[in-house]
């Protein structure tokens, strides 16, 4: 181990230049470039007279044992572009006459304890890493890496039990399995990035929270606590967007700052949490300045065991409040279903009471029709929002849902003549009650409307088109059409719950699709029309958990595009009729089961996937003279059609690569206009000649 002193002012600290290194303070140059075991000093003799100077690091990483900048009488700038500095001992930056402009990773890799890190107000410009097995570092002052991450990989980091120095960073990352210890004492830790705490892998992490306070100040901080015990943790942004907590953690106090930005910040929980002190969600500017506390998985409950709570302007979904604070109550709490241990305000009906255009979150709601507008009447998830007739709003007005609010029932039924537009733009509101259009309204917007009410919800379209994609995500709930529903939105998605067509027609936009969840499509005589021509016009993308129910009457899925379209069945059972309802070829993928298959146009093609078996209760494809229905495979190989019993009799069909099986008789008699296109089996194209007495081919026994 040697000491190396910087001399001669501005110069390059690289891997070869020895000009600026001396073995003594102000001594002769030419000493070797410091190694990881050498201490480096920057002092009053490092510059020429008292002038400012720049030490530019190059050849990353620069290494040293102790790094000491002390006694400088001219401003030293430690520079370097994306250069790393690795310190194997302690580090001291001088409080004055020292600036840092290098950007790059600063690594502390000591393997013995007793090291100190004293940055004296100098902010690191890049990531800071503590990684030394057996190493131990104690802060000598506050440390800041700005919005960069401080990573603890191995060793022991301590904020000083006497100084309780502040830590400021984009985030703290200790997501590994090596042994490491973090002691926060009574420090304030402020983390402004999107990954505030990352202890996702907390194996061999000893985390001593002390009485520290961790503030996540970003808009969407992820707090991956790794199941550790923290002291006070706060999400301090007044404009929270999408923070999250993962890991089954324990807190003293957990708090969320009241929002000053209109809208709703969604704090998602992926595990149960324990709060031994108080769980606080502070009031926002007004009721529409909300926090949404939700399980990360709809239908899966997260439990907050709390000693005490203070809750305002908060929506809950799939949250149980347990512990001494249960049942919890608060101010303007919204019930987005799946909750327990929370006392919500009784559902109320509020009335739009502004004469002109406005936004959903504005002071436009009143407790009576035409009454005084009051911010506290902002409709919560359990409430009903009514648009009265006449002047609320006036003819031609637009009401815009400007945030992803949780909305109960929207009742626009009285709006029959004073046309208004309900606009959602790109927002994605969730609906927990009924949606009732009036005949005088217009809908606009491209963000998804999610129906998530868990119980029975109804949609009354009143012949008005939904421009938004619609998602049914209502575990154990149902959404029932009250009349025909037409959406031009990109997709209608069935994720959780039952979509009951209720004998009505649902016409979707680009596609109908399923998503992960337990979902059911009930027809009750209704029809699902997929009019778009694409490879996923009907897309049972997640067949697991998907069922269909015929109900009363015959349900139909009609593929009506005039050009090629695909029915992606996913191997499910469709208790309905699949109808080829457009001139474009219908491709069917998956080994599906159908109640029936029909066509309402001809000529047309129905193409099955080779090497799959499609099973039918009834099979009623037929063309007309000169307008054949082509039954074939997508590729030049056979598919299989199966029917258990009875007789299938098609007419005016051209059939190829088709294997008809299952026990039924499959007739495609050429006398009925059918064509044997070849590579078929099981189909009967010609009737065997009837026996007659004239040909003598009889044996008679007596």
């Amino acid at each position: 181990m040697a000491d190396r002193y910087w001399i001669l002012g501005t110069g390059s600290w690289d891997s070869t230049t020895t000009t600026n290194w001396s073995a003594s303070s102000g001594g002769a140059g030419g000493a070797s470039v410091p190694t990881a075991s050498d201490n480096v000093f920057f002092d009053a003799n490092s510059n020429v007279l008292a002038t400012a100077f720049t030490v530019t690091m190059a050849n990353t990483p620069r290494v040293c044992n102790d790094f000491t900048a002390s006694g400088l009488d001219g401003t030293m700038t430690l520079a370097g572009s994306a250069i790393g500095l690795t310190v194997s001992g302690s580090l001291t930056f001088q409080a004055t006459n020292f600036t840092r402009s290098y950007t790059g990773i600063t690594t502390f890799n000591a393997t013995t304890t007793g090291k100190t890190v004293t940055t004296n107000g100098v902010v690191f410009g890049g990531q800071v890493i503590f990684n030394g097995v057996g190493g131990g570092w104690t802060l000598g002052s506050a440390i800041s890496s700005g919005n960069q991450t401080i990573t603890f990989t191995s060793g022991t980091f301590d904020t000083s039990s006497s100084g309780n120095y502040a830590v400021t960073a984009g985030g703290i990352d200790s997501n590994t399995t090596t042994a490491r210890t973090i002691n926060l004492n009574a420090s304030t830790v402020t983390l402004g990035g999107s990954s505030a705490i990352n202890f996702a892998t907390s194996t061999n992490l000893t985390f001593n929270a002390g009485t520290s306070t961790i503030n996540g100040s970003g808009a969407s901080p992820t707090f991956a606590g790794g199941g550790k015990t923290f002291y006070n943790v706060a999400f301090t942004s007044t404009a929270l967007s999408a923070p999250s907590i993962t890991g089954a953690n324990t807190f003293n106090n957990l708090s969320i700052t009241g929002q000053t930005t209109i809208g709703i910040g969604v704090l998602s929980l992926s595990a149960n949490q324990t709060i031994n002190g108080t769980f606080t969600v502070s009031a926002g500017t007004a009721a529409p300045y909300r926090i949404f506390l939700a399980s990360d998985t709809i239908g899966t409950t997260r439990t907050l065991t709390c000693a005490a709570v203070s809750l305002t302007d908060t929506d809950f979904r799939d949250i149980t409040i347990a512990g001494a604070a249960s049942p919890a109550s608060g101010t303007r709490l919204g019930d987005c279903k799946g909750n327990s241990g929370i006392t919500f305000p009784a559902a109320k009906t509020v009335f739009y009471a502004f004469t002109g255009s406005s936004t959903w979150g504005s002071r436009v709601w009143a407790s009576t029709s035409g009454g005084t507008r009051d911010n506290n009447q902002f409709p919560l998830a359990q409430d009903t929002a009514v648009f009265p007739a006449a002047t609320y709003p006036a003819f031609g007005s637009t009401v815009t849902i400007e945030a992803n609010f949780n909305i109960g029932t929207i009742d626009m039924s009285l709006n029959t003549s004073n046309n208004m537009t309900l606009a959602t733009g790109t927002t994605t509101p969730a609906i927990y009650g009924n949606w009732i259009n009036g005949t005088g309204i217009t809908l606009s917007g491209t963000g998804t409307l999610s129906f998530a009410g868990r119980t029975t919800q109804q949609i009354t379209s009143s012949a008005k088109t939904f421009t938004q994609p619609i998602t049914i995500n209502s575990p154990s709930g149902s959404v029932t059409l009250q009349d025909a529903l037409l959406t031009t939105g990109i997709a209608t998605t069935l994720t959780n719950g039952t979509l009951d067509l209720n004998g009505k027609t649902l016409t979707v936009g680009t596609r109908f699709t399923t998503a992960t969840g337990t979902k059911n499509l009930t027809f009750n005589g209704g029809t699902l029309v997929c009019p778009n021509a694409n490879t996923t016009s009907f897309n049972n993308a997640v067949p697991t958990g998907f069922t269909t129910t015929a109900g009363t009457g015959t349900g139909t899925i009609s593929m009506t595009a005039a050009t090629a379209k695909t029915f992606v069945g996913g191997g499910s059972t469709f208790n309905c009729t699949l109808n080829q309802g457009g001139a474009g070829a219908l491709t069917i993928t998956g080994a599906n089961t159908f109640s029936n298959i029909t066509n309402t146009v001809q000529p047309a093609s129905v193409l099955f996937t080779a090497a799959t078996t499609s099973t039918f209760t009834n099979f009623n494809l037929s063309g007309t003279s000169g307008n054949l229905i082509t039954i074939g495979s997508v590729t030049a190989a056979s598919h299989t059609l199966s029917k258990a019993s009875g007789t299938v009799s098609v007419s005016f069909c051209s059939i190829s690569y088709s294997s008809a099986t299952g026990g039924a008789t499959w007739e495609a008699l050429t006398t009925n206009g059918n064509v044997d296109g070849g590579n078929n089996s099981g189909w009967i194209f010609t009737t065997p000649p009837a026996p007659s007495a004239g040909n003598g081919n009889f044996l008679m026994f007596f």
């Binding site: 004055t96 400021t168 402020t190 402004g192």
Partner: protein
């Protein structure tokens, strides 16, 4: 070296830091106070800076 611990209590929490100075630093108390205030102001500036992260994309 002389180490001067100091802290500020604010709505953002307690900011604890230390000034580590030469024994003969020659700074007046006002200058020290100013340096401490500057440290605190810098901290507030960092933790109240608008987030740069992108907002989540809308569900489609």
């Amino acid at each position: 070296m002389v180490k001067i611990d100091f802290s500020f209590h604010s709505q953002y929490g307690t900011f604890a830091d230390a000034l580590v100075l030469e024994d003969d630093h020659g700074l007046t108390q006002d200058e020290i106070n100013a340096m401490q205030q500057q440290r605190f102001d810098n901290w507030v500036a960092i933790i109240t800076a608008p987030p740069t992260e992108e907002t989540p994309s809308e569900e489609v």
